[in-house]
Symmetry: C2
Subunit: 191 residues, 2 copies
DNA sequence: GTCTATACACCGATAGAC
DNA sequence: GTCTATCGGTGTATAGAC
């Protein structure tokens, strides 16, 4: 059953170039365009070379996503060490550098078990880290958040920024100014 | 340039069966599976018949989405006439009957101009209707929502329910109980 | 209105030469 | 490590017979 194909190392210049190319294609053209041919072209190599470094396309997509989550968790750790994690988080959420790419992975998760599991692992872990940092800032500032628990705050900040970004990308602006004003007010309550 | 292909009527039993089949495929298998072959199979007709009723696959997808938004707006109008539109909206958002399907159209909007425009039209229109109804309920009950304007409430209710649904479908539950408790509390403030 | 036949591009994946 | 060659399958779309 096993294929006789040779496989290359997991961390070489070319394999990393393929991961970079995959990110670019996903970000700019969506996952429907993330084919071995398109990605190879983007990386400047032949299509078949993709299969020297990755067993299947699913494996390449998963490897691309896992590299991203590893980096994102590292970045998150640094951000939560800042003095005002709540403001830092909000700024990061709304910067939208990777909103498009993250959305593609969310869509991919629907039909890719490995990515779905990694999304679940990543979201669960990062939400715990965020909640803890938010709780710490509130406690330090002597703020009683009432029914808005730190976890709720983390969830709402994330989901509001997510939809604002999605809608903006779709050409929708209805109500966005009021929502931003509200978030401004809410964040002001934490000081 | 124009093709010599004959085209069928826009509203026949078969064309509606194709729209139904498209919805089912999108809902259960995602938009990558929404091919003419798969949809025809689902509708129990030959692949080529799709092109008798729709010029292109993009046109079929757009027609499917437009039928949905028309029905959704009709449903929304009925819901907003209820006595407690806020609770009715929240119940509808969290019922998630069509969460999966709606998400597929959001993803499709990324690379389908027609769907993107229809999403924008639909979201803008429904948000205005929701805001108006929410404002009316608050006024009737003599509630001052403070910084949470009716539009903000409509946006937050929608985006919280959207992410709760997405995450649940991905196997994530972290913090969901707290978020639901918070929404319960917030909705209680409107009475 | 639905069928058969068919064109042509692109897909994932494998094998083996260089 | 990268290339050429190649397979079987699937995609959109068209033309014309029944």
């Amino acid at each position: 059953m096993a294929s006789k194909r040779r496989m290359g190392p997991q961390d070489s210049a070319t394999s990393n170039a393929l991961l970079d190319a995959t990110e670019r294609v996903l970000r700019e053209e969506g996952y429907a365009a993330a084919t071995s041919r398109r990605i190879a072209q983007e990386a400047g190599v032949k299509q078949q070379l993709v299969y020297y470094y990755f067993r299947t396309m699913d494996e390449l997509l998963l490897a691309t996503f896992k590299r991203r989550t590893a980096r994102a968790l590292e970045k998150l750790e640094n951000q939560l060490e800042q003095e005002r994690p709540i403001e830092t988080l909000w700024q990061d959420f709304t910067s939208r550098v990777d909103a498009r790419l993250n959305f593609e992975f969310m869509a991919l998760a629907n039909r890719h078990e490995g990515i779905r599991e990694e999304v679940a692992r990543f979201v669960t872990l990062s939400r715990r880290m965020q909640s803890e940092a938010i709780g710490r800032q509130l406690k330090d500032n002597g703020v009683d958040p009432g029914p808005v628990t730190p976890t709720t705050a983390a969830f709402v900040m994330y989901c509001v920024s997510l939809l604002l970004g999605r809608e903006a990308a779709t050409g929708i602006t209805e109500g966005h100014d009021e929502v931003l004003a509200f978030m401004d007010w809410a964040l002001g309550q934490t000081r």
